[in-house]
């Protein structure tokens, strides 16, 4: 169902515009850095523009990813389709992706980067991969984009990374690959199941979800568990959930600034996105059965990540571990599955993308000047770089969930939602608040405050125009989303409601009449309400 006069191929444009830019760059004669930067910037801005168009045209009452739908045969011999579409969830992440890419490119314009052309190309291709996996509705197409993402990131870390970049990038690649290959087999298996159950050869998520929710697959519990496991593993490695997280710190530490931003900002979110889009709707029973297990892992992750972060001496590593902790909270919210928890989880995905992206951006600013990430090499630089300090403080506060900034909304809703399911989970998860304050404030204190000990910092220069241009939108959003979270929440509530409905049969008590969330709007009710009733 294509909602809007805007061309049905808007999504194709969105996804492949960056590739186009990358191609232009690749065949750009000569080595004019300015031209390269200009082309890359223009491309990313256009892409962002397209995503904004989509946002303007989007009708949030849609709960299923069928906005701007495109459905064409790709490999008709095997029922594989070029099927794209959006719902609030993917749209939110798309906006985040395009925005962060713009920031990254802006920042990279402000810093001295060798072989910048390749750098820009890699990021544009990466953007295509990310956007593709966000809007792909054919599981195989999704898998293709999912894998495509790996390669540019492999180059970004491997070519422009730090000292141990090769180890880091291989680790990143292999960890992710290990997960996704299992998922690959699972996809094939599921397709086979679908074929035998319905006689239709299809990899389309919509078909699968319909069959799954109508129980047409008749999966044996063990089989469903295995399939769910394979899917979940692929996504949880990406998240990354404890104990699969150890690739993240290395990757983050070694990656160049832009790499870290995108990695933390978007790639991790794709893990949770995958859980929401695939693992949970396709295998609700297994999801329900193993939810508690995931929850326990998530809880461990929350405390563990924070605790280890508190022991770090390297700024990036610290932020990386903080991501482990925060994403674990998101996973917990997904597991809890109540309306608030899901909304919170999605909100937190965006929020974390902004705050952590900003944190990495600012660390990158410092790094580009001093070429060290050790906190000990800084200290007392607040007076030297007031603006950076201010922004960093805002990012930090957003990250530790200070009310009025975006971090709080996500945390509050997740915890609230989890509280409805299990007070104990909520209590354990809430310790993250305290621990978060401990390590992040320590970071701020060690880096920016105290006496100016290191002489080298006396010549430290503050954030420059390009970098500020890259950072500003993030800061603005961090504050805006904190004060006015409604637009984002309404954007995703349709998806949330669908997700809950998918889980209804499993845990009816999870779905309550969503009070005042505007779900009484006919758009959703006509489709959702009857089934929801039936479910009770």
């Amino acid at each position: 169902m294509n909602l809007h006069p805007l061309g049905a191929d808007l999504l194709t444009t969105l996804v492949f515009l960056p590739t186009l830019g990358a191609l232009v760059l690749a065949f750009l004669p000569g080595s004019s850095k300015v031209a390269a930067k200009a082309i890359a910037l223009v491309t990313s801005f256009l892409t962002f523009g397209v995503s904004v168009l989509l946002y303007r045209a989007f009708d949030p009452s849609i709960g299923v990813p069928e906005a701007f739908a495109i459905d064409r045969p790709w490999i008709p011999q095997f029922g594989i389709r070029y099927q794209l579409g959006m719902d609030g969830l993917s749209l939110a992440l798309v906006l985040l992706t395009t925005l962060l890419t713009v920031s990254v490119l802006l920042v990279s314009c402000g810093q001295e980067i060798e072989r910048i052309k390749g750098y820009l190309i890699a990021f544009l291709l990466l953007e295509t991969g990310m956007l593709g996996s966000l809007v792909a509705l054919d599981t195989l197409l999704f898998y293709v984009f999912w894998e495509v993402m790996l390669v540019p990131m492999y180059f970004i870390i491997g070519v422009w990374g730090g000292k141990r970049r090769i180890y880091a990038t291989m680790k990143f690649f292999l960890f992710t690959m290990a997960g996704s290959l299992l998922m690959f087999v699972a996809i094939l298996f599921t397709a086979n199941v679908h074929l035998h159950a319905t006689g239709i050869q299809s990899f389309s998520l919509a078909d699968w979800t319909r069959a799954a929710s109508s129980g047409a697959w008749h999966l044996a519990p063990a089989t469903e568990a295995l399939l769910f496991g394979a899917f979940a593993l692929a996504f949880l490695v990406k998240v990354p959930l404890w104990p699969l997280h150890t690739w993240l710190p290395d990757a983050h530490v070694e990656a160049p600034t832009g790499g870290s931003i995108i990695l933390a900002g978007v790639l991790l979110k794709l893990g949770t996105y995958g859980l929401l889009r695939f693992a949970y709707p396709l295998f609700p029973h297994a999801a329900a059965r193993y939810g508690p297990l995931l929850a326990v892992l998530a809880l461990i992750g929350i405390v563990y990540g924070a605790w280890v972060a508190a022991a770090q001496k390297d700024m990036k590593k610290l932020v990386a571990y903080s991501s482990v902790s925060h994403l674990a909270l998101v996973v917990l919210g997904i597991v809890a599955g109540t309306g608030a928890a899901l909304s919170g989880a999605i909100f937190q995905m965006i929020g974390h993308g902004l705050t952590t992206g900003l944190l990495f951006l600012l660390v990158g600013v410092l790094y580009s000047r001093r070429h060290t990430r050790e906190m000990a090499d800084y200290g007392g630089i607040a007076a030297r770089v007031p603006v950076t300090t201010t922004l960093f403080l805002i990012a930090t506060l957003g990250s530790i969930g200070l009310p009025g900034l975006n971090g709080f909304i996500g945390e509050f809703l997740i915890l609230g939602g989890v509280f409805q399911v299990s007070v104990v989970w909520a209590a354990v998860a809430a310790t993250g608040m305290v621990l978060g304050a401990i390590y992040l404030l320590t970071l701020v204190q060690k880096v920016f405050w105290g006496p100016e000990t290191v002489p080298a910092n006396r010549t430290l220069t503050d954030i420059n125009g390009w970098e500020l241009a890259g950072a500003f939108p993030l800061v603005a959003l961090i504050v805006l989303l904190g004060v006015f979270p409604r637009p984002l929440l309404t954007l995703v509530e349709g998806s949330v409601y669908t997700l809950q409905r998918a889980a209804v049969r499993v845990a009816p008590e999870n779905v309550r009449p969503a009070a005042g969330t505007g779900l009484k709007r006919p758009g959703v009710d006509e489709r959702a309400a009857p089934r929801a009733e039936a479910a009770r």
Binding site: I75, V148, G158, V159, M170, M177, V185
Partner: protein
């Protein structure tokens, strides 16, 4: 039983490609003997021959020469593969051969003969014809292996390839003899009849041994563990352009013949001892090939072991033995041809000539000096690793899918595990290309028109087939239908 010395036009049309190839090969031999100065044009002549051969092919279909040979989607497929392999070998190799002054006409002639043999091998419906095709192909390759006959490594490669090949031929013949003795025919078409007909021969040990002898011989050509020993040495010692051909078309032909024979014997699908047997062959090859490739530093040896592993994936299709599997494996082979050739293009271009080994280190920093070559090589590595959106992914996808569909999930998992290991060494190449500072100044031979074209062609195919595999799938399905009769 066709008449005495009776050859119809259709018969000739059926084998037209071979005729064209053989004819041009002879022409080149003559030219080389009497008009040496025009050596520089032999590559173009060869390409012309290939083009014509392809035009000549696929005009008729059915059985010809009294049912000894056939023309079908399958032969069409192998024609394309064989000619493609030669084309890429020539495109990529011409420059380096010219540099080493080893661009005698025989090289191209032998390649063409070998291609003809490859085609005959698949075209043959009578096992005798298959054998002759096999021999034609192999003999040419034996000679090509020793092309740099003053280089010890080359002659050693030739020796090993030749002795093993001869041994394999003996086994092949033993198998044919047994089949002939037990069933009474060497015609695949007739075999097809036998199992269904009332006069069914109980599948006793002797017949099994005979079949296995053929399987072993073909596995040797395909280079499946444990019949793989020759591959690394020959790859390393043989001149690279020839390896480009050797590592692709013959393997494809041998695999297809294997499938045909098996399908002739078991039209209803593989029975009990056979399916696990091929599954084991596949699994062992995948694991062994990938693991050992991980420890190689010589590019060609690494590619040899990777080839062993890749053929293991192909063998999964043999174990699966459904039409989808056939289709998948054909796509896989086509993709492997392009991808592997792309890999050898750069290797062939590496300086130092055939006398020096081509180690991983030689690639260091190539990304800076020859971005195009480096990009194509990287692309082919990704394709070999089966990462989308390359044709390598499509091939693996189809093969695994078929396997999973027929319940061979375990095999698929092993395959997946293998690819995980393989990422280790494929990406190592990429790493050396782009992320390692060059040690000495290793450069490519000046990228002439031909190799440039080859780079672009292979890259384009790897991506195009990866993104829009429909056409390829169509071709493969045509061939698969011949294979599976459905």
């Amino acid at each position: 039983m066709s008449g005495f010395l009776h050859v119809s036009g259709a018969d000739l049309a059926c084998v037209a490609p071979e005729l064209v190839l053989a004819g041009f090969a002879t022409l080149i031999l003559l030219l080389d003997a009497f008009a040496r100065p025009i050596r520089a044009f032999f590559p173009y002549v060869t390409l012309l021959a290939l083009a014509l051969a392809n035009l000549a092919g696929g005009n008729v279909s059915g059985l010809f020469f009294g049912g000894a040979v056939e023309s079908s989607g399958l032969t069409r497929f192998i024609e394309l593969v064989a000619c493609g392999a030669v084309a890429l070998a020539v495109l990529g190799g011409a420059a380096s051969l010219a540099r080493d002054r080893r661009n005698q006409g025989e090289f191209y002639a032998l390649l063409l003969f070998s291609a003809a043999g490859t085609i005959v091998m698949v075209r043959g419906v009578d096992l005798l014809v298959v054998f002759l095709g096999l021999e034609l192909m192999s003999l040419s390759l034996y000679v090509l292996a020793a092309w740099y006959r003053d280089v010890p490594a080359a002659t050693e490669a030739a020796l090993k390839y030749f002795l093993m090949g001869a041994l394999a031929s003996a086994f092949f013949l033993y198998g044919v003899a047994t089949l002939y003795g037990r069933i009474g025919t060497t015609r695949l078409t007739a075999l097809q009849g036998f199992s269904s007909s009332s006069s069914f021969v109980p599948f006793d040990v002797l017949l099994g041994a005979g079949l296995l002898a053929i399987v072993a011989a073909l596995s040797f050509k395909i280079a499946l563990v444990p019949f793989h020993g020759w591959a690394p040495d020959v790859y390393q010692g043989m001149t690279t352009p020839a390896v480009t051909f050797l590592s692709t078309a013959p393997k494809a032909a041998a695999l297809i013949v294997l499938l045909r024979l098996l399908h002739a014997l078991f039209p209803a699908g593989l029975s009990e001892p056979w399916r696990p047997l091929f599954a084991i062959l596949a699994a062992v090859s995948i694991l062994f090939g990938n693991v050992v490739a991980l420890s190689q530093r010589d590019l060609k040896r690494m590619l040899a072991y990777s080839g062993i592993a890749q053929m293991g994936y192909a063998a999964i299709a043999v174990a699966t033995f459904t039409r989808d599997a056939f289709e998948g494996v054909l796509v896989f082979l086509a993709g492997y041809l392009v991808t592997n050739a792309a890999a050898f293009l750069t290797v062939a271009g590496l300086s130092g000539g055939e006398t020096e080994p081509r180690t991983l280190g030689d690639l260091a920093g190539l990304g800076r000096r020859h971005p195009v070559a480096a990009s194509v090589l990287s692309l082919s590595m990704l394709s070999l690793a089966g990462i989308p959106p390359t044709v390598g992914f499509i091939g693996k996808f189809l093969v695994f899918r078929a396997a999973v569909d027929s319940g061979l999930v375990g095999l698929a998992l092993i395959g997946v595990l293998g690819s995980l290991v393989s990422v280790g060494y494929y990406l190592r190449v990429v790493y050396v290309l782009w992320m390692k500072e060059p040690v000495g100044d290793v450069t490519l031979v000046p990228e002439d028109l031909l190799s440039g074209a080859a780079f672009l062609l292979t890259a384009a195919l790897m991506l195009a087939w990866g993104l829009f595999p429909r056409a390829l799938l169509h071709l493969a399905r045509g061939a698969a239908i011949t294979l599976s009769g459905r």
